[in-house]
């Protein structure tokens, strides 16, 4: 048995959803602004439609899947 026998990634790209990042202290957005992270897992927007960029606010669920 390896040290980590159960798959467990720190960064997860959610299908039709955000990027989950575990254990980050800061995230830099496209404009170079550094945002502090205040929770153990944070969701970074991938659809670009969030009202809380760079964070996900679940707006992607309102976008029809092409």
């Amino acid at each position: 048995m390896s040290e980590n026998d159960i798959p467990h990634a720190d960064v997860v790209l959610q299908p039709h959803g955000p990027m989950l990042i575990r254990g980050a202290a800061t995230v830099q957005d496209e404009d170079g602004v550094v945002h502090p992270v205040e929770r153990p897992v944070v969701a970074v927007c991938r659809c670009g439609k969030s009202s809380r960029l760079p964070w996900c606010d679940s707006t992607h669920k309102l976008i029809p899947r092409g």
């Binding site: 159960i6 959610q14 959803g17 955000p18 989950l20 205040e38 929770r39 153990p40 897992v41 944070v42 969701a43 009202s51 809380r52 964070w55 996900c56 606010d57 679940s58 707006t59 669920k61 309102l62």
Partner: protein, 315 residues
Amino acid sequence: MPEPRGPVSEWVVARLASYRPSALPRPPDTPSTLDDEAIALWTLHELSYQGFEDATELAESDPDVSRTRFRLEATLESRLRERWVRVAPTPAEVPEALEQLAAQDAGPSLADHVRRHADADQVLEMLRQRSIYQLKEADPTTWVVPRLPTRAKAALMELQFDEYGNGNPNRLHAHLFARGLDAVGLCADYGAYVDGALPETLELNNALSMFGLNRRLRGAAMGHLAAFEMSSSIPARKIAQGLDRLGLAGPMSAYYDEHVEADAVHEITAAHAICGTLAEDEPDQAAEIMFGAFTCLDLEGRMAGALLDSWRSAA
């Protein structure tokens, strides 16, 4: 303790107030009103949370008290199962089935009303109803931790840690809600508004407590969690907008604001890492997860409908 609403809750309150075995008549075992049974069961469940100043702690394990709780839970559970539009996905299909269920939910929306139309009195009434659960936010779910297999347990703890403020009491969600109540001029004492709680509010709370307290219902508890988180992020944003519109920005608005980003993470964790892995590890829980998720959306819709109806008829 709350004001009784009929014979069952009268018996419960009297029994809890004076602990002397056999000092009181046997509990009534004939069906009463939904309202009476709901407040009675709520009161009995609270013995496992914060208890009551005017109830003895010994009552939690009193046989007559337990028997009454189990009888009321059985009635509630069979009512919830009768309402359930049954779906039974394979374990691998559970996360997507949860997403579909939440996406297709057509129940009445308090958040839409609060965002655009509600007046301040209506918002305060919604907050009083919400306070029955929100002041113990996440607590019933924590009871499920020791009953889960490894992957689901680790994921639930990660989610709950966030609910409890990641170790910082100032960020504990129930505490954020209490600060919000205080800021909008409402009482933040635990259970302060239970006497005004609608039967629908009590039923929603009782289902959550019942799922949390019974190992047998662990799948339903996790399905409930997933549906709750999946129907939280976008509505939380609308409620925060409504609060701002009414000049109630500040700590209560910040509470809902916190849930926009938190629950965008939690809904994925709950559907995939918790419910998905639980169903894989314990395939017989797949249908139970869906039962819990359906029940969450159904009861939230009933509570929203009851509030919206009361405002419509008052208008």
